[in-house]
Subunit: 128 residues, 2 copies
DNA sequence: TTGATGTTTCGCAAATATACGAAATGTTTT
DNA sequence: AAAACATTTCGTATATTTGCGAAACATCAA
């Protein structure tokens, strides 16, 4: 007769949904995750005026339609806004939302152990 | 006889390469562009100790192999490091690089017009 | 040696992001 | 009305990201 083992497993899994905060941080970070968009936001947030799509396309190594898509994404994220000024379109920072995004990200960046703890005795770096 | 127009166009295009700074901002932002990675970094940067992959998978709504990939990405970005502690692997913040990333991002976030300028008379929001 | 355990890698599928040129849109100029 | 212009949308191609389960790997326990 065979030896039989019975094992009973009780799994206490406590899967989280992500908090609003975590999702917001990820969303804003995503908006900043492409050099074209970083460049645009950097330029617009520094300027004290608006900026034409045509000006940007001169400076950036992408075509017009691609630039337009990046602008659309930034607008969708609420970080910039466009004013139609025929035949041009002027873009500028959406101050309110940009300030909010900055606050969310800065809070995240500053909210950590000030102590200079880290794994001291690192033996091996995994994930070569 | 047809009317003939001749147009001479001199195009002064001045396409930029992205600066190191802009590329770095985009790279760090990308590392933060997924809720799982935000969660991990938030947790590790707050903790005064390390954290097992097995602990994380309990809390997060993704499978083991998916979590492993996110950890790999964070490690590749230099933001965390792993210590093999059989049969576990302990992960923790890479303080030096994380502090640098924070500095890069914070400088970017703070480097802008303090004046509360924005497009005042926005007539139409484009990119509906 | 075999089995149990924690973790990663592999192979794949589906979704999303990035890029471009052509065509469409809307406005001004001729 | 037609041409010129700035910009967006569409269609499409390609690359990257995200996710999972199965298999592999390395270590410890029996």
């Amino acid at each position: 007769m065979r030896n039989i083992k019975i094992k009973i497993l009780i799994i206490m899994s406590d899967k989280l949904e992500f908090t609003q905060e975590v999702q917001e941080i990820a969303r804003f970070s995503k908006a900043l995750s492409h050099p074209v968009r970083v460049y645009i936001l950097q330029k617009l947030s520094k300027m004290d005026s608006c900026c034409y799509s045509g000006d940007l396309v001169e400076e950036l190594p992408v075509g017009r339609s691609t630039l337009s898509q990046h602008l659309k994404e930034l607008k969708y994220a609420g970080l910039i806004q466009g004013e139609i000024n025929p035949p041009y379109i002027k873009y500028c920072i959406n101050r309110e939302n940009w300030d909010n995004a900055k606050k969310v990200l800065e809070d995240f960046l500053n909210d950590n152990q000030s102590a200079d703890f880290s794994c001291d005795n690192v033996k091996t770096i995994v994930h070569t």
